[in-house]
Each structure stands twice: as structure tokens, then as C-alpha cells.
Subunit: 102 residues, 4 copies
């Protein structure tokens, strides 16, 4: 399985674009994939093809409204590992021997 | 105030480096700055100088143990805005008119 | 057209992975898409579907040899703009009124 | 030595911000540090403190003109290695046994 964190914003809509981010996040929420929103992006767990299909759907949706889009994506693939969206944080907390803010 | 998301890993310790991430996160946890850990990085809110001082402390600590370090950092500065670590997510949820997974 | 910058490395092969990067770059070089290698990544210009198809081919190739892969990708889409791989730099040089190191 | 790639843009100036990027690049060009501009960012080689001092100077300059700034930075530290801004590309070309577009 792969973890993907991404953020996608229009660059031609001024500095307040939460309306556009909301449309993208609605697609993520309806995808059925496991995800977590954070203040700087959204982390999703899935198979490569499913992640890229969702990314494409988000891009096509935003493309209808914006002529310039900035997108950052970061992937962490681990063979044979699933549930990493939860276990990565637990693993760091175990190593740190403390509870961390999530 | 500025939001900074970062992840810092050693590249010379194999594919299991949560022990090193834990040392870095301990520094973040003890910094007193507002932060949130997610499966792909850590988001911290603070003034520019405080964020860079913390990043430097994390780098110097990891540098003692590793000869090759990969670091990614992303910043979102907004003049006059504080509490964005919470309010960015609420703002997107309000626009999406739904609760999202955090 | 879209510009995509990406870097893809195995995390389970130690700190010297230029052999694996070379395999990925060979696929990019043979893709027929316009690209430029820099010390931190590779910038490619193309249509969204072509860029994601190439990214998938690179990922599948590396996946045969590595159990943990880290990938970062950054996209800049501009409607109706082509040749940005050259023109973006020229545009900044014109604004700066100086020649910059490329 | 460390390689840093960064890109810094104002989010409140519309989709054409090469004027602002030019100001930042002028600071980089005058810093005396080795750098290369690419279509998606700027790669600079230097010591950690020099890189962060330059990044801070760029941020402070842009902050005078913009109320919302997006910054991405990526670092690759290798103990005892200098000249990586040139040697990383040569190393990949040697492994790929071909000349690549730079």
C-alpha cells in the first residue's frame, strides 16, 4: 500500500481558496479511501492506481474552474504494509516513549 | 504567523527509521510550539525565526547520527493570522458543509 | 500543459542510489517528453495523462527492486501555455534584468 | 555540504508572479553561493547556516510585499561531500550510460 499526501490549490483565485479546497476534499471524502486532513494537506492510503485515479479526478474538477493550478504530492510506498495511516504515528510514539499531538 | 510542515529522515539507516524520527519529534514536543503529527510529516505553527531555530536543532541532532539526511519543509505564511493550525481545517469543513476525517 | 518535477528514490538500498535513479531517468529520456534533469529532481513538460503514465511506469519499474519507495512530485498547470520548461526561466531573467545560472 | 531546492511565491498577487520571483532570485544571485535555476525551483549548495540565512533574507524581502507566502524547500545533506550541484547529475549519467538533458 501507498500513503499519498497532497495539496492542490488554484493560483488565480487570490489568497482565499478554501472554497476550491473544499470541492477537492469532498471528492476525497466520497472516494471511500482512508484519509486524514491536516492543516497543510491530506494524507490518503490506497493502491497506486486508486490514488492516481483520485488525484486525476481532483485535478479535472479544479481545472474546470482555474487556469493555473499548483499541486504537490508525496508518496510513501511500503510493500505488504497496510494500515500505515494509523501505524506510522503509533510507531513513532512507541519509539519516543511519549504521546504526541495528532 | 507561519505554518511549517516538515519531515526529516536519515538515508543511511535502512528503511526503518522511526527511532530517528522519534528523536526529532521529541524536540518538537518539547519546543512549546503548537504542532500536529500526521502520517507524512509534522505541522508546526510559529514565528519564522522560532520555526527555523527548531528546524536547525532537529537537523543538528540528526546530523550527529547520520551522514545523509533528506529534509522536506513547506511553509504557509499569513500576515496577522494565528491559530491557523486549527482554523484551516474548520474553514475547509465549513466550505464543504461536512465533517472531514482529521 | 503541465510542468511536473519529481524525484523517486528507494529507501531500502542505503545512501547511494544513483543506480536506481538512472533506471528511472532512462525511462524519462526514452519517453519523448521534454525534460530537464537538475541536482534535486527532474522537470518534465506534458499533458496530465502523459505525465501520470510516465510516473506510473517509473514507479512500477522501481517497485520491482525496492520494498520502500519515497516519491515527491510537484505540478504547475497553466491552461493554454506550452514551452514553459524554457519560458519560465526566461521570464524570471527578464524581470530580474540579469542572466541567472541555469 | 547541503543542497537546498526552494521555491517561494506570493499567493495574493494573482497567477503572474515572476516579478516577485525575480526579486528573490536576485538575492540568490548576489549571495555568492553556487546555485542553478530550473523551471520549478532553485537549487543552492552551501552550509546549513548559510542556506537558512539566505532563505530568511528571501522571505523577509517577499514579506514586505505580500500578506500570504507559500514556500517549499527540500534539503539533501551529505557529510564531507562538496560540489554535489554538478556531481549528482554526472553520477546519474554515468550509471545510465547516457547523456541526459540538463
Amino acid at each position: 500500500m501507498t500513503l499519498m499526501e497532497f495539496s492542490m490549490i488554484p493560483l488565480d483565485k487570490g489568497a482565499s481558496f478554501s472554497k476550491y479546497v473544499a470541492k477537492v476534499l469532498t471528492l476525497v471524502d466520497e472516494s471511500g479511501l482512508e484519509y486524514r486532513l491536516n492543516p497543510m494537506g491530506t494524507v490518503i492510503e490506497g493502491e497506486w492506481n486508486d490514488l492516481l485515479a483520485l488525484l486525476t479526478m481532483c485535478f479535472r474538477t479544479l481545472q474546470k474552474e482555474s487556469d493555473r493550478i499548483s499541486l504537490q504530492a508525496k508518496f510513501d510506498y511500503r510493500k505488504g504494509v497496510s494500515g500505515a495511516i494509523e501505524s506510522k504515528i503509533r510507531s513513532v510514539e512507541a519509539s519516543a516513549e511519549r504521546s504526541l499531538n495528532k
